[in-house]
Structure formats: C-alpha cells, structure tokens
C-alpha cells in the first residue's frame, strides 16, 4: 500500500524522525486561500509547494516549486493543484494532482539518501544510505554501487546503535550532524518495524547549516499482508490514486491490473495469469490486463470479472483460461455461461478449461447455445483469441 509524502512524514515524525513543518491542502479547498494561510503559518522566507501523487519524479515533472513570497506561494499552489503531472513513474497520461503539501524551506548543506527495504537474498531488512542524495538510487546502484552503504538488520537484536554510527561515519558526517543522523537512523529503523513497512525511502535526507538533519522527502509503503493489524491505515488510503477498476476488482477478491493491449484475460492463479499474458504477446497480440480470479471462480466472480474487463474500451476479445485443480471446470463453465447470458457477448470470448471435470465443462459450453470459442490447449487458446481480437 502506498501513501502520500505528507502522510509518510507525519508517521515518521511520531517516531522521532525530523521533518520540515508543513500544511496539507486538499482538493475542494480554496487553493489560493489555503496556500496563503500555509505561508502565514510557516513563517519562513522560502516555502516549497509540492504536488502529492503516488509517484516519484515529481520535481522534474514540474510538481515541486519554491516560493519566496505569499503571492508566489499562492501562484504555484493554484498552478500545481489540478495539473496532470507526468513523471517517469506515472505513464504518459500522468496523474492529476488533488493534494498539495506546502512546507518550510531549509538551508541545505548536503543531500543524502536513506532507505530501508527487505533484502530477499538474505531475508533481512537492509538499511541503505548514500552520499548521492537526490538521485535515483537505482542509478547509483548501477553506476557507482560503492557509494551505497548497507547494514543488514539482525531480527534477533534489531538495528543497533553501532550500525547507525557506522552508516553516519560512512557518510562522512561529524559533530552535531553525526549525532542527529544516528538518532534519525535509529528512529527510521524503529518506524519501519513498527509500521509493517515494505519500503522507506528518504531521498533526500539533508544535513542543514544549523547542524541538524531533515527528511525532505518520504516514500513510505506498507506491506499489504500486514494491513489486518493496522486498521488505521484505511484513512491514509487515497482512492483517487488508484485505478477504479482495480478497486472494484478488489471488492470481489479479484486481482486485476490494467494494461494497454486489446486481449482481455481471465485466469485462475497469478503465475498462469502472467503466463497467459506472455503467450498472447508471443503469438502476436497484446494483453489488456492481468486478472487472477483465484481459487473460487464462481458465477458471481466470473461475472464481475467480465464487467471489469469489458469496461476497458480497448478490449477486442477475451480469453478465459482455467486450469482446474481444486476448482472444478464445470462450475467455472456454469459461471461463464451465466455471466455471458447476463452481460451479453460484446466481444468474442475464447474459453479454455483444463483439469478437473473439463469434459463435463466442454459439454456444458457446447450445449449452452452461446457462441463461445472453445480452445483445447494453451497454444490453441492464445492463437484463437488473438485472431478473434483482429476480427478474423
């Protein structure tokens, strides 16, 4: 689960991570008035107006601007709010800005990077820092890996002060800034553990001219599997940042991700769903979506799946690919027939059912009177659906 920068900063602050003071402006407020009030409240010669969207690269896309006066602050806020912000993470369509964060500017001495993430190779959380703050850490890792310092967190003891010191010394910090950094690193590690985070990125973490450090940005992601013990995170969720079809799919316990192609797919199991997308591409088509209907592919969920797939106007044909193990193909076939009768056949539907009770299922599809295209294996299914999408 992703949250906004300002929400992440509020959480980090509770754990003792120093962050700049700021004011959030939400959609629906009078932007100029709210920005003016923010300027008055922050009482700094410089403030920063920052677009809040769930994607990085906001600065380069024009979503982060410095303001040196009340009027300038209002001007930037009015301009950024509502803009379609395009970054390397949003795709070409961009994401509409619906929230702003206006925060105190500060006198930056140096920019660093700090992050925490699971190292899957060691199954431990790794604390990473770098002197190359403000850059994309992936690029630093690729070109100058020696500039990333790492400390693995031992689950038996947790992150230790000596590790925080080692990181701070590694960054070349001394004096007050060193002390502040050690404190901040310990706070970050505590926050990561307590919040069931899956990613922290503070980029940049800056040292300031008064000897402190500040988290100027905060990318905070939570582990979706741990949301059951953090009911309060629901308030942090911003549905405007999510695809409405993915929200609808989640209601039915379906896993849907929209893609750009023309062949819709409905598959049981994440691996087979990805494999189905791959084979569609392999035979010359483009998948329109990832959709895992999961173990209980009953009539209601199949119907919901059809609705969601068909809400994408690019879809020219649909492939239903089910390998029944515990799921019985005849019950899936029943679901497909019922769903098609209700939704109607707006585009050709190719059905491939293998595994438990597939023969009964094939007979049900044949005798249903619905004009479905039946495929006998994965290759056949992919070829048929791609041809159907081309109108052949």
């Amino acid at each position: 689960m992703k949250i906004h920068e300002y929400q992440g900063k509020e959480i980090l602050k509770r754990f003792g991570v120093p962050v700049p003071s700021g004011v959030a402006v939400l959609e629906g407020e009078d932007v100029r008035e709210a920005a003016g009030r923010a300027w008055d409240a922050l009482q700094r010669p410089v403030v920063v107006v920052k677009a809040q969207i769930h994607a990085g690269g906001r600065g380069k896309g024009g979503g982060v601007k410095l303001a040196r006066s009340r009027a300038e602050c209002q001007e930037h806020a009015a301009q950024i709010m509502g803009m379609q912000l395009v970054t390397h993470q949003t795709g070409p369509a961009g994401q509409q800005v619906r929230r702003l964060w206006i925060e105190q500017g500060c006198a930056i001495e140096h920019e660093y990077y700090a992050g925490l993430v699971l190292d899957r190779q060691t199954s431990r959380v790794t604390f990473m820092v770098s002197t190359e703050g403000g850059m994309e850490i992936e690029k630093v890792a690729e070109h100058t890996p020696e500039k990333i310092l790492k400390e693995a967190i031992d689950p038996r003891t947790g992150f230790q002060a000596f590790q925080a010191r080692r990181l701070a010394f590694g960054l070349g910090l001394a004096g007050e800034a060193h002390k502040a950094a050690v404190k901040t690193f310990l706070a970050l590690a505590r926050a990561y553990e307590a919040t069931d985070a899956s990613l922290f990125e503070i980029n940049p973490l800056v040292s300031t001219q008064d000897g402190g450090v500040l988290a100027l940005d905060a990318k905070v992601n939570f582990d979706d599997n741990a949301l059951f013990r953090h009911k309060d995170y629901q308030e942090l969720r911003d549905l405007a940042e999510e695809d409405p079809n993915e929200i609808e799919a989640a209601k039915w316990d379906l896993n849907y991700i929209k893609l750009d192609g023309e062949v819709g797919c409905m598959v049981n199991g994440a691996g087979l769903a990805m494999g189905t997308m791959d084979i569609i591409k392999h035979v010359g088509g483009e998948p329109a979506n990832f959709l895992d209907v999961g173990g209980g592919a009953n009539a209601e969920r199949v119907e919901a799946g059809f609705h969601i797939i068909l809400s994408d106007p690019n879809v020219k044909a649909i492939l239903v690919n089910i390998f029944g193990g515990i799921v019985r193909c005849d019950s899936v076939a029943g679901g497909v027939i019922e769903a098609v009768k209700k939704v109607g056949l707006k585009v050709p539907v190719v059905v491939r059912l293998a595994g438990t009770n597939h023969e009964e299922a094939a007979e049900m599809l044949r005798s249903s009177g619905i004009d479905l295209i039946v495929a006998h294996d994965l290759q056949d299914a992919a070829v048929k659906v791609v041809n159907a999408a081309r109108g052949n």
């Binding site: 992936e138 069931d196 599997n225 059951f228 893609l259 598959v267 994440a270 189905t276 791959d278 994965l378």
Partner: protein, 289 residues
C-alpha cells in the same frame, strides 16, 4: 525415487478441523498420503476424520511419531504455527497459508535456518510424489509417476506444465511448488540440491517468475552442479514494472527482477528456456529423447 516426500512420511495437519484443513486432509488421505492426525488448539483429545486431534504439535509428534506437517492456519497465526512445528522437530513442513506479513516471516526464516526443518512455502500449493503421497492442495490426478522433477513459484502454471508433460507420457519424480512470497522456506536452489541427489530424476522443469533473484541464483547452481537437462519458463515477460502481479513476490522493482534478466541468466547457464509457456512439455520431451 523422489525427493522429500513418500508414503513413509507421517503427516499431521495444523488447522486440521477448519474448512480448508478438513477438505485437503481428506484429499491427501484419498491420494495415499499417510496422515496420522492433526492439531487444533483446544480440541485435543477429540477425533476428526477418524484421526486423533491434538492441542499441540509436540503432543501430536509424541503420540503419532509424525515427522511431517502441513499448515492451514490463517495469516495472523501462521508464523506461530510454523515456529511450533519447528520447535517440535518436524522434518518436512508445508505452509499453504497466503498473506503472511513479511515482518512475521523474517524471524521465522531465521529459526528455520537454525533448525533441521525443511519448509516449503508459504503461499504455495505444496508438493507431490506421484503415486506415493501429496502434501498440499495440488490436484493429484494430473500427475503420474516418472522421472522429471518440477519446481515452481506458481500453482496453476505448474499444473499447466505437468499437464503438458503428462500429455507426452512424461511422469514426474516429485513436483514442488515453492511459493510466491518474497520470503520462502526453500528456494529453487534448495530444492535443486535434493533433485541432484536423486538418481531417478532425469530432467528438471523450473518455472520462475518476475521479482527477486532466486532464478539467477538457481542458474549459477545449475551451471555448476546439475548435469541433467533443465527446462525453464519465466512468467511475467509482459508484466509492467512496479506492480505486484498477484503474488507478493512477483514485482519488478528498481528495474530489477525482470523476466528478460532472468531468462538471460538461465540461458547463459546452459538451461533450455521456453519463451512460450505452451512449449515446456515439448522441450522436455525432445531433451529426454
């Protein structure tokens, strides 16, 4: 021959009396698995499916001699169930549960590393030695005894591969679904080590997916230690970066863990990589001659 699992394994089911546990215990028994009882805290002393129920894994091990366990326990309680099995000396453990938080799995992995327990999963379909026993939720009837080992991060895609092998008369020694989570008990490499020691396994199908670097590590191991043919497929060639594709572990992050990278590493290690998932069975058939 086979790896890890035969009829000789004495199996208990943790979460025995729940819906999932009951259903799959019956399926496993029907397949021929030696299920000797189960554990549901608070229901010790009762009977379920004609087998004894115990309050603790330790009790079950003491009274039945169980050496193997399978866990059907909801995510909030799954880490505890794993640690209980490890502490009781279970040798082979399968965790079916999907959705265990990473923070819970980190200390569990640490405990597993320090123990003699081999864990498969979590978020996996389990494993099967065709004709002998199944420990999991895989459909038994699609499998047939034979000489190809199968290892996979996915469930239904494994069934697809097994179906393709079966259609060509190729049976399997053991099929292992290692699970789709970022932290799992046994990696591809761990299972490859078992197959290497099984003289009856003449070929291996390895089905990976995007995310992490387990396939690359497996490729390095195969290049050095595995002399029999290996066919591989990597799911997610068309997956967009930054999105979790169903499985918690199936995500391309920071440009890492792409199918392209993995396929290149596998090819460089001399592994036969299928571009098309429909070719897995045919490629193995050709290699086995």
């Amino acid at each position: 021959m086979s790896i890890l699992l035969t009829k000789a394994n004495k199996v208990i089911v943790q979460g025995f009396t729940g819906g999932e546990g009951s259903f799959h215990a019956e399926q496993m028994i029907a397949y021929g698995t030696t299920v000797v009882g189960g554990v549901t805290p608070g229901k010790g002393g009762t009977q379920h499916l004609g087998l004894p129920v115990f309050d603790t894994v330790r009790d079950a091990v003491r009274d039945t001699g169980a050496d193997t366990s399978i866990i059907f326990v909801p995510p909030p309680f799954a880490a505890d169930a794993i640690l209980e099995a490890v502490e009781a000396g279970i040798r082979l453990l399968v965790t079916i549960t999907e959705g265990i938080p990473v923070r819970d799995m980190i200390p569990v992995k640490e405990a597993l590393n320090a123990s003699g327990t081999v864990m498969i999963g979590p978020n996996c379909p389990g494993l099967i030695t065709p004709g002998q026993a199944k420990l999991g939720i895989l459909p038994g009837f699609i499998h047939s005894p034979g000489h190809v080992g199968v290892i996979s991060r996915s469930g239904t895609l494994t069934y697809e591969a097994v179906g393709q092998l079966g259609a060509r008369g190729i049976g399997q020694s053991t099929c292992v679904g290692i699970g789709g989570d970022p932290i799992i008990g046994s990696t591809f490499t761990d299972i490859l080590k078992h197959f290497r020691n099984d003289p009856d396994t003449k070929g291996i199908v390895m089905i990976g997916e995007i995310g992490g670097s387990a396939e690359e590590e497996a490729a390095a191991y195969i290049a050095e230690h595995i002399k029999i043919p290996v066919v591989s497929f990597i799911a997610g060639q068309t997956a967009p970066p930054g999105r979790r594709m169903g499985h918690a572990g199936a995500i391309i992050s920071g440009g890492k863990g792409t199918a392209t990278e993995k396929m290149a590493a596998l090819k460089a290690a001399g592994i036969h990589v299928a571009q098309n998932p429909a070719d897995i069975g045919a490629m193995m058939a050709e290699l086995l001659g």
